[in-house]
C-alpha cells in the first residue's frame, strides 16, 4: 500500500518517459552538446593534424565527405594524399593499408558498414591481427578499422549484422564499441594512437544522437583507456552489461525499473576485447544478478562470453541465472514490425531484469 502511494508520488514528480533517445538531453548544464558524428569527426581531425603518418582510406571518405559524413571536411583540409578514395576493393585496400601499417604509417580504414569487412576479413585477421605474433614482435600493425556495425533501420539481412563477437574472438585484435560522444572521441583517439590493430565498431543510429560533453572531453589530448568499462549508472539490485546502442536502451530500462523498486547498475562495456572482466565481476559481486544485452546473434556472442567469465570467477555470488538478451536468431528481416521483434527493445530488458530479480513479469 505504502509502496503504491510512494510510486504515485514518484510518478508525479518524475519527468516524462522520453522516447528512444538520450535521456540526458534535458539536463541543462555548461556541457556542450555534441553528436557522435561530430565527436568522431573532431577526433579524426585532431589525430590527423597531430601526426602526419595518420591517413584515411576507404570508399567515399573524400569527395563524398564520408558515406555517413563522418569524414566531412577532411579531404579539404588534408588533401588527397592523406584522404584516399578507393575503388570498391575491400580486400585490396585493406591489404594495402595493412602493408602501409607494417612500415609505420597509421591508416584508418573505413568500411562503409562492417558487413563489407567480410570481404577483407582475411587481411584483418591474418595480415593484421596475427602479424605481431608471427614476427615475434618485430612488425607491429598500428591500424584502425572503423565503420558502422549492427542493425540500422530497415536495411535488410546483409547490412545488419553485428560483428563484435567475431572480431573479439581473435587474439591480436582490440575491439572497441563506443556508445556516446565521449566514448566516440576518447576511444577513437586511443585507437589511432594504439600500436596494435583496433576494430572500432560504431553504430549508424547513434551518429545523429547528441550527448553532453565536458571541456575535458573536448581537449585535444583526451583519450580513454582501452580495456576499461564504464559504470554509467550505479545501482545495487541487478547489473545490466551492454555495449553500443544497447547502453541507451539499458539506461531507459533502468529508469523504468527504478519505479518498480529495482535499482539497476548499467555497465557500458566500451571494449569487447580486452573485455573488462574485473569491472563486470566486481559489479556482479555487489548486485548478485546479471543481465547481458546485445543486438547481435545470441550463439557464441558477447553475452555468452560475459556469462562464462562471471561463472568462472564469481559463481558463488550469483543469486540467479544470468539473463542473456540478444537479437533474434534469424537473419534480419526487412518488415518494420519484424525488425522490431528481431532486436531487443527496452521492454525486453525490463522483463529480463525482473526475471533475474525473481519478480513476476506483468
Amino acid at each position: 500500500m505504502l509502496g503504491i502511494v510512494r510510486q504515485k508520488m514518484l510518478e508525479r514528480s518524475s519527468k516524462k518517459i522520453r522516447p528512444a533517445v538520450s535521456m540526458l538531453r534535458s539536463y541543462s548544464s555548461a556541457a556542450k552538446q555534441m553528436t557522435v558524428r561530430e565527436a568522431l569527426n573532431s577526433a579524426l581531425h585532431e589525430e590527423m593534424s597531430a601526426d602526419s603518418k595518420v591517413f584515411l582510406i576507404g570508399e567515399e571518405v573524400g569527395e563524398y565527405q564520408g558515406a555517413y559524413k563522418i569524414t566531412k571536411g577532411l579531404l579539404d583540409k588534408y588533401g588527397p594524399d592523406r584522404v584516399l578514395d578507393t575503388p570498391i576493393t575491400e580486400a585490396g585496400f585493406t591489404g594495402i593499408a595493412v602493408g602501409a601499417a607494417y612500415y609505420g604509417l597509421k591508416p584508418v580504414v573505413e568500411f562503409m558498414t562492417f558487413n563489407f569487412s567480410m570481404q577483407a576479413i582475411d587481411h584483418i585477421i591474418n595480415s593484421a591481427a596475427k602479424s605481431n605474433y608471427m614476427s615475434a614482435g618485430k612488425i607491429s600493425v598500428p591500424i584502425v578499422f572503423r565503420g558502422p556495425n549492427g542493425a540500422a533501420a530497415g536495411v535488410g539481412a546483409q547490412h545488419s549484422q553485428c560483428y563484435a563477437a567475431w572480431y573479439a574472438a581473435c587474439p591480436g585484435l582490440k575491439v572497441l564499441t563506443p556508445y556516446n560522444s565521449e566514448d566516440a572521441r576518447g576511444l577513437l583517439k586511443a585507437a589511432i594512437r594504439d600500436p596494435d590493430p583496433v576494430v572500432f565498431l560504431e553504430n549508424e543510429l547513434l551518429y545523429g544522437e547528441s550527448f553532453p560533453t565536458s571541456d575535458e572531453v573536448l581537449d585535444s589530448s583526451f583519450c580513454l583507456p582501452i580495456g576499461k568499462a564504464k559504470i554509467e549508472r550505479k545501482g545495487k539490485h541487478v547489473t545490466i552489461a551492454a555495449y553500443s546502442k544497447m547502453v541507451g536502451y539499458s539506461l531507459q530500462a533502468a529508469e523504468i525499473l527504478e519505479k518498480d523498486g529495482i535499482d539497476a547498475e548499467v555497465i557500458n562495456l566500451r571494449s569487447i576485447r580486452p573485455l573488462d572482466r574485473s569491472t563486470i565481476n566486481d559489479s556482479v559481486r555487489k548486485t548478485n544478478r546479471l543481465v547481458t544485452v546485445e543486438e547481435a546473434f545470441p550463439q557464441h556472442g558477447v553475452g555468452a562470453e560475459i556469462c562464462a567469465c562471471v561463472v568462472e570467477e564469481s559463481f558463488a555470488y550469483l543469486d540467479a541465472p544470468v539473463e542473456r538478451i540478444a537479437g533474434a536468431d534469424v537473419p534480419m528481416p526487412y518488415a518494420a514490425n519484424l525488425e522490431r521483434m528481431a532486436l531487443p527493445q527496452v521492454g525486453d530488458i525490463v522483463r529480463a531484469a525482473k526475471r533475474a530479480c525473481y519478480r513476476s513479469v506483468p
Partner: protein, 432 residues
C-alpha cells in the same frame, strides 16, 4: 649491350597507356594457335631434338643462354652481361638457395622439421635475379615458398634454419615457421600462407614509400617493393584489385609472377582462361613482360629495368617468369600428376648449371673457384644445422608474448608509459 637481347627496352618505348600498339613488345607470344611451353600437348612433340628447340625459340618465346652468347660473339662489340664479381655473387646465392632447400628436405625426413614445408628448387634464378638488385631498404613480400627469398634478401641461413626447426633463435623466435618468415631489418615482410594475401600487403608497402616521399617529405625515399607470387594466384581477385590500384596511384612496385605452371596439382592451363599472365598487365595500364625464369641473366636484365622504372616513379610492372619447381608443391605432395618428360625438360635447363656454363665459357671463372664456392656453402649449411640443433626450444613464457605491441591493452599514455601503470589513468571522465 642489350642489342642482341629481345628483352623489351622500357626506355626506348615510352609507355603510353592509351595506345595499345605501343605495348607491342618483341618478346611476345604468338597467337593462341602456338602452344604454350608448359602444354602437355606440346610435350608430345618434344623429342630431344635440338632442331625443335630452335624452332620454338625462334617464335620469340624463350632463349637459352648459350644462344645469347653465340649471338654476342658475332657482334662487333663484345660485352658481357655481368662482371666476374657479380657472376660469383649470383652463383653463390643460387647455390645457397638450392643447397638450403635440399638440406630442408633432408631435415624434414629426419623429423627435425615439421608442418608445411614448400621448397624452391629450380626457381632460384628468379629470387637471385631480382633480389640481388635491391637495396637493404627495399622490401620483398613473398608467399609460403619463402625460404630462398629470405636468404637472398640477406637473412642469415642460421636464423632461417632455426626458425624452421622451431627454435627460439629463429628469425621469428620460432613463432612463424616455414610459411611466415619476417625480418624487419632486411625488410622481408612475409611469408603469407594465403594465396594472394601478400599482394595487397606489398602494394601497401609500396604505398608507404610513396607516402613517405610525398606527404612526410622524406627526401629520396625511393624504396621499391617486390611482390612474389605464383600462377595460381593470378586468378585471385586480390591480384586484379592491386594491379588496378598500383597502376592508378603509380606505386613503386614490381609484381613478379613465378609461373611454375602448377598450383599443387592444378595445371595452369586447366585453371586459367588466358594462360598468358603478362598480358594482364596492359589491361590495367602497366607493362607486362614475359621472361625465361630459368635463366638468371635474363631475369636480371628485366629486373633491372622494372626496378629502375619503379624507382623513377613511373609506376608498377608485371613480370611473368616462366620457371619450374623440381620438387612437389610441398614435402607432403606425392607429385604424381606432372609428366616426367616435362620434369626432365626443365631439369635440363637448371639455372645453376646454365650460369656455371656461362661463367666458364666466358672465362669469368673456373671450375676450381666454383667448386670452392660449393664447398663454402656446404660448410655454411652444416654450421646452420648444427646451430639450429643446439638452439633451445622457446621457453614456456614465450607462448603469450607478442600478441600485442602494447600488451596490457590499455593504451600508451602521453608520457610513453602504459596507461594502466599510471595511477590516475582512469581519469578523463572515465569514472569507474
Amino acid at each position: 649491350m642489350a642489342t642482341a637481347f629481345s628483352v623489351p627496352k622500357f626506355a626506348a618505348q615510352p609507355f603510353n597507356p592509351i595506345s595499345p600498339t605501343s605495348q607491342q613488345k618483341p618478346l611476345i607470344f604468338p597467337t593462341a594457335a602456338s602452344p604454350f611451353l608448359g602444354s602437355t600437348r606440346k610435350l608430345l612433340h618434344l623429342s630431344s631434338s635440338s632442331q625443335l628447340n630452335l624452332r620454338r625459340r625462334s617464335s620469340g618465346s624463350v632463349f637459352a643462354v648459350s644462344d645469347i652468347v653465340k649471338e654476342k660473339k658475332s657482334t662487333s662489340i663484345p660485352s658481357l652481361l655481368i662482371t666476374k664479381e657479380e657472376g660469383l655473387e649470383l652463383y653463390e646465392d643460387m647455390v645457397l638457395g638450392r643447397a638450403f632447400e635440399d638440406m630442408c628436405a633432408q631435415m624434414y625426413y629426419r623429423g627435425k622439421m615439421f608442418g608445411f614445408v614448400h621448397l624452391y628448387n629450380g626457381q632460384e634464378a628468379i629470387s637471385t635475379g631480382f633480389i640481388k638488385l635491391l637495396k637493404q631498404q627495399d622490401s620483398v613480400v613473398s608467399t609460403y615458398r619463402d625460404h630462398v627469398h629470405a636468404l637472398s634478401k640477406g637473412v642469415p641461413a642460421r636464423a632461417v634454419m632455426s626458425e624452421l626447426f622451431g627454435k627460439t633463435t629463429g628469425c621469428c623466435r620460432g613463432q612463424g615457421g616455414s610459411m611466415h618468415m619476417f625480418s624487419s631489418e632486411h625488410n622481408l615482410i612475409g611469408g603469407f600462407a594465403f594465396i594472394g594475401e601478400g599482394i595487397p600487403v606489398a602494394t601497401g608497402a609500396a604505398f608507404s614509400s610513396k607516402y613517405r616521399r610525398e606527404v612526410l617529405k622524406e627526401a629520396d625515399c625511393d624504396h621499391v617493393t617486390l611482390a612474389f607470387f605464383g600462377d595460381g594466384t593470378c586468378n585471385n581477385g586480390q591480384f586484379f584489385e592491386c594491379l588496378n590500384m598500383a597502376a592508378l596511384w603509380k606505386l613503386p612496385i614490381v609484381f613478379v609472377v613465378e609461373n611454375n605452371l602448377w598450383a599443387i596439382g592444378m595445371s595452369h592451363l586447366r585453371a586459367t582462361s588466358d594462360p598468358q599472365i603478362y598480358k594482364k598487365g596492359p589491361a590495367f595500364g602497366m607493362p607486362g613482360v614475359h621472361v625465361d625464369g630459368m635463366d638468371v641473366l635474363k631475369v636480371r636484365e628485366v629486373a633491372k629495368e622494372a626496378i629502375a622504372r619503379a624507382r623513377r616513379g613511373e609506376g608498377p610492372t608485371l613480370v611473368e617468369c616462366e620457371t619450374y619447381r623440381f620438387r612437389g608443391h610441398s614435402l607432403a605432395d606425392p607429385d604424381e600428376l606432372r609428366d616426367p618428360t616435362e620434369k626432365a625438360h626443365y631439369a635440363a635447363r637448371d639455372p645453376i648449371t646454365a650460369l656455371k656454363k656461362y661463367l666458364i665459357e666466358n672465362n669469368l671463372s673456373g671450375e676450381a673457384e666454383l667448386k670452392a664456392i660449393d664447398k663454402k656453402i656446404d660448410e655454411l649449411l652444416e654450421d646452420a644445422v648444427e646451430f639450429a640443433d643446439e638452439s633451445p626450444l622457446p621457453p614456456r613464457s614465450q607462448l603469450l608474448e607478442n600478441v600485442f605491441a602494447d600488451p596490457k591493452g590499455f593504451g600508451i599514455g602521453p608520457d610513453g608509459r602504459y596507461r594502466c601503470e599510471d595511477p590516475k589513468f582512469t581519469e578523463g571522465t572515465a569514472h569507474v
